[in-house]
Amino acid sequence: MKLRVFVPGDAGAVALGADEVARALQAAAVRRNAQIEIVRTGSRGLYWLEPMVEIATEAGRVAYGPVALVDAETVLDAALGGNRGHSLYLGTPEDIPFLSTQTRLTFARCGIVDPRSLDDYRTHDGYKGLAHALQMAPAAVVEEVTQSGLRGRGGAGFPTGIKWKTVADTVADCKYIVCNADEGDSGTFADRMIIEGDPFVLIEGMTIAGIAVGAPYGYIYVRSEYPHAIAVLNDAIRAARRGGMLGRSIAGSPLAFDLEVRVGAGAYVCGEETSLLDSLEGKRGVVRAKPPLPAHKGLFGKPTVINNVLSLASVPIILEKGGVFYRDFGMGRSRGTMPIQLAGNIKYPGLYETAFGVTLGELVEKIGGGTATGRPVRAVQVGGPLGAYFPRSMFDLPFDYEAFTKADGLIGHGGIVVFDDSVDMAKQARFAMEFCAIESCGKCTPCRVGSMRGVEVIDRIIRDDNRAANTALLEDLCHTMKFGSLCALGGFTPYPVMSALTHFPEDFGAPTRLAAAE
């Protein structure tokens, strides 16, 4: 009997040498005349333990990690000898607190299944949501998603069901499903992980969306920085077509749905839905004014459902277990679970899916273990380059769309980047403006020109040139950008800038509270 060995093929694990470890395990097995089968999975999302190698046993899987190239021989020996007495032995992965305390709905299969195997997906409850959807009226499918309370996981938090209903109710000769996989926010990698670890869940989610609104074709717009994800997704789409789950007859039904991958070209602004649509049409990724909404006039002028990867990947479980099941997780108007990404200077970086309501402090200090450098946490940026910086004094903030809005921030795509006390917040504020200047599509003057002026004004504040007047000017500029830009790039760049200025004034040359008290 072959020993099954699971090695992640996730880009994060590969960046730490997972490919070399997989080859070394195979070579070590050949030398020992041992029969092993190496399965490349996604990542479980425990990146401080990557490459994490798992071994199938009669009592379930056991894990070793982090496995370096030099450990391959001894790990294989331990695995062949009954999994005893190895310093990297982690036991059952599901019992590791970082995993055992999670509620994995969207990421239930990630890191477990072979992402290229349709059979594996089916064995692990895949395509049950679609089976239900095919027995329902399209309007009932939309209703189920509305019931679930699912909101757009890309950042805007718009109710997914309402978006779908708008497209379903619009009469047109053609409609499209577009998946936004242009995950450009620093500190976020959940889209990449799910595509590399469980692409069929996204394909199933898009298929259900197609059936629900009457759209026969879909596009997945993946950023070019994700070559591993693009390769896995293309393989999975081919497997789904071969297996009759994409094409003219979905799962033997009379309904047709097919989709293709389109690759972005390094423009951050294309993560904004209307510029993404322009990019898909072969144009510059320039933001469109709304209305018309994409749901009325989207891709090629047709009604279009455009959703984030995580929104679409959450649909199969909603259809499988019901909208009410999903809605029962969470708090307030934030229902279900959120795959939160812990990144930057953090001891336990990774993916943590949990119901809304967990506090920022719990995520950073308890689950994330504080900083990787061991120095005190000074600031965390939540929600990518357009998200606010928060000090430790705000760590009781619950992870919830409304709570973050009230605190002048956003949860965005759920990324948390941790900084230790060596961070210079004036430099971070300057970078936010600089990034906006680099990535602005150029349509709105406050964004295109304002971001350039913002860099200059912050430079003047830093070198104490008319500091008070320039600080007032920066606040005024941020106000103009916030209310004078069509999309979130110009509109939200003020969040990191203003939060840095508000919560960390001492970094901008203001007297510290301690010095002021003296």
């Binding site: 994060g12 590969v14 990557e50 450009g184 990449r192 389109r262 070209a265 940026q381 980047v417 990034f435």
Partner: protein
């Protein structure tokens, strides 16, 4: 090391024609051309314009809008260094500076011998293994000066 074909208008025409029927064909065409030649030659723009029935200005506008499309051939190796926040939190700024000193060129440039192009990238999605980089398409996590030394000194440079 990645090798590319020298610019060839006939080969380019074939590539463009293969994809011209795709809805929104321009980006897939530009990607295909860059994959073949390593960059988008200026001479490609009128060819694309003619086949897709666009103006040259429209094609030029798209080529110059996206950071990915190069206007000159890349170095024999391309090192992309992540400059975004999660990597900054783990010392990416100092590493970029170090790479610039080691190669003698600023980010966004190619060494005079054509050996290596240094490029900034804003997020590779490897924020949990920061700082990160991509060398000729190979992903690298927890980048440090030792790893950088090895990359910059790849044997065939």
């Amino acid at each position: 090391m990645t090798s590319y074909a020298p610019w060839d208008a006939d080969a380019a025409r074939t590539i463009i024609a293969e994809k011209q029927a795709m809805p929104g064909a321009l980006l897939p065409i530009l990607h295909a051309l860059q994959e073949e030649f390593g960059y988008i030659d200026r001479a490609a723009e009128p060819l694309i314009a003619e086949i897709l029935n666009l103006t040259r200005a429209e094609v030029h506008g798209v080529v110059t809008f996206y950071h990915d499309f190069r206007h000159t051939p890349p170095g024999r190796h391309v090192l992309k260094l992540c400059r975004a926040e999660a990597c900054q939190a783990m010392g990416a700024d100092a590493l970029s500076l170090y790479a610039e000193q080691k190669t003698g060129v600023a980010l966004g440039n190619t060494t005079a011998d054509g050996g290596i192009s240094l490029e900034p990238v804003y997020c590779l999605g490897l924020c949990a293994v920061a700082p990160s980089a991509m060398f000729d398409g190979r992903v690298i996590g927890r980048l440090d000066t030792n790893k950088l030394d090895a990359l910059v000194a790849e044997p065939d440079r």
